[in-house]
Each structure stands twice: as structure tokens, then as C-alpha cells.
């Protein structure tokens, strides 16, 4: 069974009398431990799709299951619980909590979302800080870190609860190319180490080449999927 399954997925937004169909009946499946990207121009529906996979939004019609759970059946509270238990998020703007240090930002989900005992928590955070190359920066606050360092902390925060799936919406959009490549490499190495499935969106061709599976979206429709070799040849 795939980790994520979408069947004839439709998402329609309504703004007054106007209806906008952001996703127009897409079907796809994402396997466990895969490294997947959704690519496409702005407005193609990448973020909408990621939001639905991340249980932040419900499809208008069609079926979307994540970890065998039909996400349209989840209420606000259940969705939050599901996200906290099974998913990790990396944001384009990092969205670290400015009053907390890098260490405390990574600790946040273990304290406020799950309730890990102190010793286990500390071990896990130190392991991740080392894994993302931020071992010596744990005491720094977000405003003392560079963009790349912030995103490393964000990746560590996303992984700290051992989620099955990490969703990253344009995780490299605010980074220079070299840093962006390092973040993608970091995510890949985390996938290799922990077996976590990574799904990210991007419109940077060099970044999308790093994905093992790429889904291309255009105007809310899936144009097809390709593996890494096909993308690099293209």
C-alpha cells in the first residue's frame, strides 16, 4: 500500500460568486521512503496539493488517503493530532519561533505537540542537531542564524518526532543555489538515514533534478510523473 494515494482529486476555491478550480482531478501515489517533488509554475496547484497531503486542507471531491487515513474525514482537532503524530513540515520562510533557540525550536514539537520525557528528548535533539550540522549552533536564536542554518534547523524540527512523511513547500526558494543544494542533500541524507518520505515542491529545475520522482503540475492538472533519470536527461 502506498503512503499517499490520490484518486480523482479536485479542489475548488470560491471567492464570492467566482469558483476557481485549483486541482482538476489528479491521481497519484507516493511510496514509502521516496524523495518526491511536485514541480510546476506559480499557480499550478503545487501548494494546494501539498496542503491537502499535509491535512491542512480538504479536497472538494475525490479521495486522498495518507497513511491509510482518508484525510477528508478528519476534523480540525483530529487533523492537528494526525499532523503532530505522522507528518513533518518544512516551510519556505523557515517559520522558526523567534523567541526560542535552535535547540528549543527543534524541541518544540516534542514538548508542545508530543510529550517526550526530558532525557529522551535531549538525546533526540542532539542527534538531529549533529545530523543537520548544527551541533555548535543549538544555543543561537533564529535571528543569529543564516538562511541555510535556519532551514537546517527547520528540517531537524520536521524530523524530530520521527514522522513517516515530511512535506516541504518550496524549501529552497529563499536560499541561494549552493545553500539550496545543501538543504536538498541534507533532506536526502535524512531520508536515507531515517527512511522518512520527503515530498517537496519547487520550480527550480536544478533542485527538481534531485528528486527521485517528480510530478509535474500545470493549471491544476498532473502532466505526468518521471523518475530522476528521466528528469536529468530532459
Amino acid at each position: 500500500m502506498s503512503l499517499v494515494n490520490a484518486n480523482n482529486l479536485v479542489k475548488t476555491y470560491r471567492a464570492g460568486d467566482i469558483e476557481v478550480q485549483a486541482i482538476k482531478g489528479v491521481d497519484f501515489a507516493i511510496e514509502r521512503s521516496s524523495f518526491v517533488s511536485f514541480v510546476g509554475p506559480s499557480g499550478s496547484g503545487k501548494t494546494t496539493l501539498l496542503n491537502m497531503i499535509g491535512c491542512l486542507d480538504h479536497p472538494t471531491s475525490g479521495k486522498l488517503t495518507v497513511l491509510d487515513t482518508d484525510i477528508s474525514t478528519l476534523g480540525r482537532r483530529e487533523a492537528a493530532e494526525f499532523r503532530g503524530k505522522h507528518l513533518g513540515f518544512v516551510f519556505q520562510d523557515f517559520n522558526l519561533i523567534p523567541v526560542l533557540s535552535a535547540y528549543e525550536n527543534i524541541e518544540y514539537p516534542l514538548l508542545m505537540v508530543q510529550s517526550w520525557p526530558a532525557e529522551k528528548r535531549s538525546q533526540r535533539i542532539l542527534t538531529l542537531l549533529e545530523a543537520v550540522g548544527m551541533k555548535d549552533q543549538g544555543g543561537k536564536r533564529p535571528d543569529q542564524l543564516s538562511g541555510g542554518q535556519k532551514q537546517r534547523v527547520a528540517v531537524a524540527r520536521a524530523l524530530v518526532t520521527n514522522p513517516e512523511l515530511v512535506l516541504a513547500d518550496e524549501p529552497t526558494a529563499n536560499l541561494d543555489h549552493a545553500t539550496a543544494m545543501r538543504i536538498i542533500e541534507l533532506m536526502k541524507s535524512m531520508r536515507d538515514e531515517y527512511g522518512t518520505t520527503f515530498v517537496f515542491s519547487t520550480h527550480d529545475p536544478k533542485i527538481m533534478a534531485e528528486a527521485e520522482v517528480t510530478f509535474t503540475l500545470e493549471d491544476g492538472r498532473l502532466q505526468g510523473n518521471s523518475n530522476a533519470e528521466e528528469v536529468s536527461h530532459a
Binding site: 496542503n51 499535509g54 491542512l56 486542507d57 480540525r76 482537532r77 492537528a80 493530532e81 494526525f82 499532523r83 503532530g84 503524530k85 507528518l87 513533518g88 513540515f89 516551510f91 520562510d93 517559520n95 519561533i97 523567534p98 523567541v99 526560542l100 518544540y108 514539537p109 514538548l111 508542545m112 505537540v113 524540527r157 520536521a158
Partner: protein, 415 residues
């Protein structure tokens, strides 16, 4: 919960100046309320003490209908010796009562042999009156302050009459009174002392021995106009009044109806209205404090939510339960209220202590140098603290609810 509070504390320190200003506002409000309560409370208790301890006692027992005609000091509404004896028996058994003083009151003409004026005479048992109204002795501005309050044949006269009729201690005056049968009698007295006036009742009151009063009225039976009562604990006034009313309700007349009434000092003194006004003012000050806390904390919390919309979106997206997001913002309000309350209470208590050390005095009516002794009860402090902290949490409720209900997608998109 500790983690939520810790997080809330960090968030409050994010905008230190704003947090400080809001806390200051709460501190100022609390200091204003606690000082107002303590100072007006002190003023109230000093003034009430002046009336109860020098004139009225805490309670008074009268024949039914006497108080309604008290301005005329009606002699036909005195308590008989038998009734007085029953009341005294009850009072002697009542453990809440510290002392009592039977009085015979009468209107009389007061003359220095050249001029004549009216006077309200209180016939008292000096020892019993001294025990019931211990401040009466303190009102003696001329004459001996030690020894017995009054001797047979002596009269304590109000300063009003002493000045008007140019009398001094040792002078002889004559009192002329009409008894209930309409018979007029006169008796000479020596001025034993001059009493300072207090505002309200007692401004034209003179004191003679109860035996002299009865002699002046040619009473064959030892009647009593009223019995003034001093309680061991004046704060138990309502309970003591209720208990006494119940106890003396059994003293009935020929028609088997109760013949006596019990009145508190508040029923008899116009100062009670002023005391009530002080209570109303205190209530309004408390309402103002509530408004200050509500508006300032709500303002801060609304701003806090508005400024952190993206952050709320992020923590919501990563799975923070809505209840915990709400708890985080409520905790911020709680900490604001708590900090303001702790600092405000500490400043208030220190100021109250300083006011007691410096001993501020004031003048009320004829009385001068009344020393203000501000004090605040633990109950008042607790009430204000709970009120402020409760209001701070209440003011955070709407912003916290808004944060908890925020759609993570919309919040993450917020610019």
C-alpha cells in the same frame, strides 16, 4: 502546563516595552484601588469608631417607637424597670457583648441664671458608660480627665453651650425639665467638664448621673430610655444584632407583642450614608480597575495574535493542538495579570506601611488630628488579585480563541 507558561513568558518578553507598559497600567490600577480601599476604610473605621465609642455604642435597645420620635426624646416611651431588668439579664448572658450602658434621656432647659437655652440630657451610669463609650472621656476638653467620668451633682456640658453661655468648670447651672406627667422640676448642677463636639448626634448633648436624671424627672420607678451596647468584635455587628433581636423578641407587652427594638449605629447615625457612599465609590474604583485591565490586556493580546499570525500558522501546521495554542495565549494574559498584581500589591502594601509609619492626621468636623491608620485586609487583597488576574485571562479569551481557530493555510500565507 509549565511548558506553556514558559513559552508564554518568552513571548511576553518578545516586546519588553509593551509588556512593561501594560504591566505598569495594571500596577497603577491595583495600587490606586488598594490605597483607596485602605485609606477610605481607615477613614470610615475611625469615624465610625468616633460615633460608636463616644456616643452611640454599636447597638442600642429602645422601646418600640422610641427611635421614630427620637428627636423629641419622648419620656412616655421609656422602658419600664421590669423590661430593663429582663434586657439586662439577656445582655449579661450574651457573650458577644463587652459592655452596656442604660441611659435616661430627656430634653431640658439649661440656664446659667442669666441666659437660658435648650439641652439634650443623657442620664448615665458613669462606670457603665465609660465601659460602653470609652472615647467619651477623650472628648473632655476642660475638666479632669482621670477619675470617675462624672460625680453626682455634676454635669458634662457641650463646648457649644460652654462658649455660648461663657461657662467654665466649677460654675453652677440649673436644669429645668418637664416629666411625663407634665410636672416641671429644676435642679442645680456644677459643671464637671466641657465636652468637645462631634459632627452628627451629640453636638448638644450634656451628661449627668442617671440617678440625678431620675430625680430631675421625679421618676418613682427606675425607667430607662435606651441601653447602649458595646460589642467585643464590632465586625460581628450584623450577627450580634440578629442574635439580640431574637433574644429580646420574647420580651412582650400586655398584648403579647414584642415591646423592644434593636438598632445598629448605622440606623441611628447620618454618617452611615457617608459610609455607604464610600462603599459605592470603592465599587466604582474597582469597576475602573476592571476596565483598565480588560482594555489594556485585550489590546496587547489582540496585537500579539495579529503580529504572530504566520507563527500561529506554523505551530498549528506542525500539529500543536488548538487547545494548547489557546492555552499559550491565555497564559500570556495570566502572566501579565499575575505580574501586575504581584508588583501592584507589593507597592500598595509598602505604601500602606509607610503611611502608618508617617502617621498622617486629618480633621473631620470639630475633631482635629485624627490619625489615619490605613489597613487592608487579606480578603480585600485576595479579592482584587483574583479580580485582576481573572479579568486579564478573560481579556485574553477572545484573542486566544481567535488564534486557536485560525486556519493554518491562511495564517501561513499572511504577510
Amino acid at each position: 502546563m509549565l511548558n506553556v507558561l514558559k513559552m508564554a513568558g518568552r513571548n511576553l518578553m518578545r516586546y519588553q516595552r509593551r509588556t512593561l507598559l501594560t504591566s505598569m497600567l495594571i500596577v497603577i490600577g491595583i495600587v490606586a484601588v488598594l490605597l483607596f480601599i485602605s485609606i477610605t476604610g481607615s477613614f470610615k473605621s475611625v469615624m465610625i469608631g468616633q460615633f460608636t465609642d463616644s456616643v452611640l455604642g454599636d447597638l442600642e435597645v429602645h422601646e418600640k417607637g422610641y427611635v421614630a420620635s427620637i428627636d423629641n426624646l419622648p419620656l412616655d416611651l421609656n422602658m419600664s424597670a421590669a423590661v430593663t431588668s429582663k434586657v439586662e439579664g439577656t445582655l449579661n448572658r450574651d457573650k458577644a457583648i463587652a459592655a452596656y450602658s442604660p441611659r435616661v434621656k430627656l430634653p431640658a432647659m439649661f440656664s446659667n441664671f442669666t441666659e437660658t437655652t435648650s439641652i439634650r440630657i443623657n442620664g448615665i451610669d458613669p462606670k457603665m458608660e465609660d465601659a460602653t463609650c470609652p472615647l467619651l472621656r477623650g472628648r473632655i476638653v476642660e475638666g479632669p480627665k482621670g477619675g470617675p467620668l462624672l460625680k453626682r451633682g455634676e454635669i458634662l456640658i457641650p463646648v457649644l453651650l460652654a462658649r455660648g453661655l461663657k461657662l467654665k468648670v466649677g460654675d453652677t447651672i440649673v436644669l429645668v425639665a418637664t416629666n411625663r406627667e407634665g410636672s416641671v422640676n429644676g435642679k442645680t448642677f456644677v459643671v464637671g467638664g466641657v465636652l468637645e463636639s462631634i459632627s452628627g448626634p451629640g453636638g448638644r448633648d450634656g451628661y449627668i448621673d442617671i440617678a440625678d436624671a431620675r430625680e430631675l424627672l421625679r421618676m418613682t420607678n427606675p425607667e430607662v430610655s435606651e441601653i447602649a451596647i458595646r460589642l467585643k468584635d464590632p465586625s460581628q455587628l450584623n450577627q450580634a444584632t440578629t442574635a439580640l433581636r431574637k433574644d429580646i423578641s420574647g420580651i412582650t407587652g400586655k398584648d403579647r407583642k414584642p415591646v423592644l427594638e434593636v438598632h445598629t449605629w448605622a440606623d441611628l447615625s447620618p454618617f452611615a450614608n457617608l459610609a455607604r457612599m464610600i462603599d459605592v465609590m470603592t465599587l466604582f474604583i474597582k469597576i475602573t480597575l476592571v476596565a483598565i485591565v480588560l482594555v489594556s490586556v485585550m489590546n496587547v493580546m489582540i496585537m500579539a495574535v495579529y503580529e504572530r499570525i504566520r507563527e500561529i500558522g506554523a505551530i498549528s501546521a506542525i500539529g500543536t493542538p488548538p487547545g494548547r495554542i489557546m492555552a499559550m495565549f491565555l497564559s500570556e494574559g495570566l502572566l501579565l495579570g499575575l505580574a501586575g498584581t504581584v508588583i501592584g500589591t507589593a507597592i500598595s502594601l509598602a505604601t500602606i506601611y509607610a503611611l502608618n509609619v508617617w502617621k498622617i492626621s486629618f480633621t473631620f468636623g470639630q475633631q482635629q488630628n485624627i490619625v489615619l491608620a490605613p489597613a487592608i485586609g487579606a480578603g480585600d487583597v485576595a479579592t482584587i488579585a483574583i479580580l485582576v488576574i481573572g479579568m486579564a485571562v478573560l481579556a485574553s479569551l477572545q484573542p486566544a480563541w481567535k488564534a486557536a481557530r485560525m486556519d493554518p493555510i491562511g495564517a501561513l500565507r499572511h504577510v
